[in-house]
C-alpha cells in the first residue's frame, strides 16, 4: 500500500516536471507558432540565475520562485525585441534563429561558469510514507506545477490581458483592426513563456544541478509534450504530460530507466500517429 503511494507520488512528480519544462514552450509555440529551440537554454539560465542569486545570499525560495523567472523573463523580452519579432509567421526561420541562439548561450554560459555541474542542496528535508522515505521537495515541485497551471488558467480566462492575448493569437490583423497593438501582446507573451522556462530551471536546479548543456535534455521532451498536447495550451500540456510522465515512470518502476525513456518515446510516436493534431486536436477541443 505504501509502495503504491510512493509510486503515485513519483508519477505525479514526473508529470509535474514535464508540465514545468514544457508550459513555457507551449505558450510560445502554441500561441505564437514560434519554434523556440533555445527553450532548453532558457531553462538552463533559470537554473544558473537561481544558483547565482542564492550564492549571493538571496533567500533560496526567493531565488527559485522570483529571481529565476524574472531574470529569464527579461532576457526573453530582449530576445523577442532583437530577434524573434522579425520572424513571426516564418516558422522555419524561428527554428534556425533560436537554434543559433541556443548554441550561443551554451558557449556564453560555459565561458562564464565553466563546465562543471553546480547546484544547490534541496532546501526541504524528507518525509516518511510507511516504510519509504521521499524528498519533500518532490511535493513542492508538484505544488508549483499546480500553481502554474491554475495561475495561467486564471490569467488567460479571467483577465483582459488573457482575452486580448487569445484574440491576437487567433487573428492578429482582426485584433489590430479593433485597436489592439499585436506587437505588444506578442512581446509580453514571449516574455511570459521565457519566464515560465526560467521558473522551471530554478525549481529543478536543486535536484538536478545545472551544466551549460543541460537544456538539451529538456528541449526534446518539452517539444514532444507540446506536440502531443496539441492546440490547447493548458489542457494539452496537462494531458500530454500526464500520459508521458505516467508511462515513463511506470515503465521505469517495472523495468529499467533506459526502458522508461524508450517507453515515453514509443507512446509519443503512437500518439502522434493516431492523433496528428495532438490530444486536444480531437478531445477537449476549444479549451484553453
Amino acid at each position: 500500500m505504501d509502495y503504491f503511494a510512493v509510486v503515485c507520488l513519483e508519477v505525479l512528480n514526473a508529470v509535474a516536471t514535464l508540465v514545468l519544462v514544457s508550459i513555457g514552450l507551449a505558450i510560445v509555440f502554441g500561441m505564437m507558432k514560434v519554434i523556440n529551440l533555445a527553450h532548453g537554454e532558457f531553462i538552463m539560465i533559470g537554473g544558473y540565475a537561481a544558483i547565482t542569486a542564492s550564492k549571493l545570499g538571496v533567500n533560496i525560495w526567493i531565488a527559485i520562485l522570483l529571481v529565476s523567472p524574472i531574470a529569464v523573463g527579461l532576457f526573453g523580452f530582449v530576445v523577442e525585441r532583437c530577434i524573434v519579432r522579425y520572424l513571426y509567421g516564418r516558422m522555419m526561420d524561428t527554428m534556425l534563429a533560436t537554434w543559433g541562439l541556443s548554441l550561443l548561450l551554451i558557449g556564453l554560459i560555459t565561458s562564464i561558469y565553466g563546465n562543471t555541474t553546480i547546484g544547490l542542496s534541496s532546501p526541504l528535508g524528507s518525509m516518511t510514507i510507511g516504510a519509504y522515505q521521499v524528498s519533500l521537495y518532490t511535493v513542492f515541485i508538484i505544488a508549483v506545477a499546480i500553481a502554474v497551471l491554475g495561475g495561467l488558467y486564471l490569467l488567460l480566462t479571467r483577465t483582459d490581458f488573457g482575452l486580448v492575448a487569445r484574440g491576437v493569437m487567433q487573428n492578429a490583423s482582426m485584433s489590430a483592426a479593433l485597436g489592439i497593438n499585436p506587437a505588444r501582446i506578442y512581446s509580453v507573451t514571449f516574455s511570459l513563456g521565457a519566464a515560465l522556462a526560467g521558473l522551471a530551471g530554478g525549481v529543478l536546479a536543486p535536484i538536478t544541478g545545472v551544466v551549460p548543456t543541460i537544456g538539451v535534455a529538456y528541449v526534446a521532451k518539452s517539444f514532444i509534450t507540446v506536440i502531443g498536447g496539441g492546440a490547447s495550451i493548458l489542457t494539452g500540456t496537462l494531458a500530454a504530460s500526464s500520459a508521458f510522465g505516467t508511462v515513463n515512470q511506470l515503465t521505469t518502476f517495472l523495468s529499467t530507466p533506459v526502458i522508461g525513456e524508450v517507453g515515453l518515446l514509443l507512446v509519443a510516436i503512437v500518439l502522434v500517429r493516431m492523433l496528428p493534431q495532438g490530444i486536444t486536436g480531437r478531445f477537449f477541443r476549444g479549451r484553453v
Binding site: 509502495y3 513519483e10 562543471t116 555541474t117 542542496s121 524528498s135 544541478g209 518502476f253 533506459v258
Partner: protein, 410 residues
C-alpha cells in the same frame, strides 16, 4: 629601471613558458628538445577530467627539466585539445606522431578515446601512456597503462564494505562499457565473500531524475549501494538520494565518486560517509605526497579545488617514462620499451609505482577512504597491488606482438 642581460633573459624565459603552456604551441619548443604529446580533453564534456591531467603533465615536465632534463636536453610538451570529440582524437594523434614527432604521447580519458589513440601510436612507432583508471584488458607492447584496474580497486573495496555494512549490494552504474564491466567485477568479488548483488540499474549519461530508482532501492532493502555513476547529470543522484534522507539510512560506496570532483561540488551533508577506493588521495600522509601537493599548489594556486587520481596517475606516468628514457640512454622506441620493461619503479605521491613488464600495467598502492567534511579520510591501505585481471589474459613476454583489448572473462 635598468635593463640588464639577466632581466632580459628572465623575461624571455617567462614568455617562452607562457607560450609553451598555451595550446597548439608546437612552434614554441626549442629545436632539439625531447617532445612529448599531451592529448587530453581541455574543453567539452570531459574537460573537468582533462584539465588536471594536463596540469599534471606540465608539473612533471617542469620537475624533469629543473633536474637537468633528459639525455642533456630539455623536455617540451605539445598540447592538443580534442574537445571530447573522438574524431579529433584520431586526427590530433596522427598529427602528433607524424608532424610533431613526439617521443611519447600521454592522453586519452575514456576507453573509447584510448582505443582511438592506441593503434595510431602503434602504427607510427611512438610510445603511448594511458593514465586513467579503466576496466582492464589492454595488451599492447607499445602502450603503458598507469591507472588502476578493477582487480586493484574493486577487489579491495567490495570485501571492505561487505565486511563493514552487510552482504546485500545494490549497484547503480553508467550505461556504457565502463559501467557494465565494473558491475560484472563487483558481482565477481561479491561472490567471493558470499555477498550478493540484489539489483543493478544502468543509466544513460544524460539521465538526471532518479526518483523511481530511489524508491526501488528502498523496496529492495540492500545493505549498501555501490555507485558506478559517471559525469555531471549523474551527480544529481547523490543530491536526490540525500534529499530523500536515504544517505542516513543506507550507506554508499563508489568506484567513481571524486574523479569528477563530486565531493567538492556537493555539500558536506550530501557526500559525507561515501567510501571509495583509489590509488591516490590528496590526503595520503607521506613526505613525497606532501611535497607533491605543495609544489602543485605553488604552481597552480592555493585554491586549486582538488588533485585527484587521474592527475596523480598522469604525473607518475610522465616520471616513469622519464626514468625509462634515462635508463635506455636513447630515444629509440624499442630501447625505451625494453628499459621500461626492466621493472622500473617510481616513488610517487600515491606510493611506489612499478611497471609490470608482463602486462605494461602498474603495480601500485590502493587506499580505501571515506568522505568527511569534503575531505578524504584514509581508512585502509593495501601496498603493491598487481594488475591480476589483465595478467590473466595478457603476457607480453610470451606474445610481444599482441595488440588488443581483451574482454576479461569474469
Amino acid at each position: 629601471m635598468t635593463i640588464t642581460r639577466r632581466k632580459v633573459l628572465k623575461s624571455l624565459a617567462g614568455a617562452a613558458a607562457v607560450a609553451a603552456a598555451a595550446p597548439l604551441s608546437s612552434f614554441a619548443k626549442g629545436s632539439d628538445d625531447i617532445v612529448i604529446g599531451s592529448l587530453h580533453d581541455l574543453s567539452g564534456g570531459l574537460d573537468i577530467l582533462g584539465k588536471p591531467m594536463q596540469d599534471a603533465m606540465q608539473l612533471a615536465v617542469q620537475e624533469i627539466n629543473d633536474a637537468g632534463g633528459l639525455l642533456g636536453k630539455k623536455v617540451s610538451i605539445v598540447t592538443m585539445d580534442p574537445q571530447s570529440n573522438m574524431q579529433l582524437y584520431a586526427q590530433y594523434a596522427q598529427q602528433m606522431a607524424l608532424k610533431d614527432k613526439v617521443t611519447a604521447l600521454f592522453g586519452g580519458i575514456t576507453s573509447a578515446s584510448r582505443e582511438v589513440i592506441r593503434p595510431v601510436m602503434k602504427r607510427f612507432n611512438a610510445l603511448y601512456f594511458y593514465n586513467t583508471q579503466y576496466e582492464g584488458g589492454v595488451c599492447d607492447r607499445n602502450t603503458f597503462c598507469t591507472g588502476q584496474t578493477p582487480a586493484q580497486n574493486v577487489d579491495k573495496l567490495v570485501p571492505y564494505v561487505t565486511k563493514r555494512w552487510g552482504k546485500k549490494i545494490y549497484i547503480l552504474a553508467a550505461d556504457y562499457n565502463y559501467g557494465h564491466i565494473t558491475t560484472d567485477w563487483i558481482k565477481k568479488y561479491a561472490g567471493q565473500v558470499d555477498a550478493t548483488v540484489i539489483g543493478a540499474d544502468f543509466f544513460p549519461l544524460d539521465v538526471n531524475q532518479f526518483g523511481p530508482t530511489i524508491q526501488k532501492i528502498q523496496a529492495a532493502k540492500p545493505d549498501m549501494v555501490i555507485s558506478v555513476l559517471v559525469g555531471g547529470a549523474h551527480m544529481a543522484f547523490y543530491r536526490q538520494w540525500a534529499a530523500a534522507g536515504m544517505n542516513k539510512k543506507i550507506p554508499m560506496a563508489s568506484t567513481t565518486f571524486n574523479n569528477g570532483n563530486e565531493h567538492i561540488v556537493l555539500s558536506k551533508d550530501e557526500s559525507d560517509g561515501i567510501v571509495t577506493a583509489f590509488s591516490y588521495f590528496e590526503s595520503i600522509n607521506s613526505p613525497i605526497n606532501k611535497g607533491f601537493v605543495d609544489r602543485w599548489h605553488k604552481k597552480y594556486g592555493a585554491d586549486y579545488p582538488y588533485i585527484g587520481e587521474l592527475a596523480a596517475a598522469t604525473y607518475q606516468g610522465v616520471h616513469l617514462w622519464a626514468m625509462g628514457v634515462k635508463k635506455a640512454g636513447s630515444l629509440d622506441r624499442m630501447k625505451m620499451i625494453q628499459a621500461l620493461e626492466t621493472g622500473i619503479s617510481f616513488d610517487g605521491p600515491s606510493g611506489k609505482v612499478t611497471i609490470d613488464p608482463v602486462t605494461h600495467h602498474c603495480v601500485l598502492d590502493i587506499q580505501i577512504a571515506e568522505c568527511k567534511d569534503k575531505k578524504w579520510k584514509i581508512l585502509e591501505s593495501y601496498k603493491q597491488q598487481k594488475p591480476v585481471d589483465t595478467a590473466a589474459v595478457c603476457n607480453l613476454s610470451k606474445t610481444p606482438n599482441e595488440n588488443k583489448q581483451f574482454v576479461i572473462k569474469i
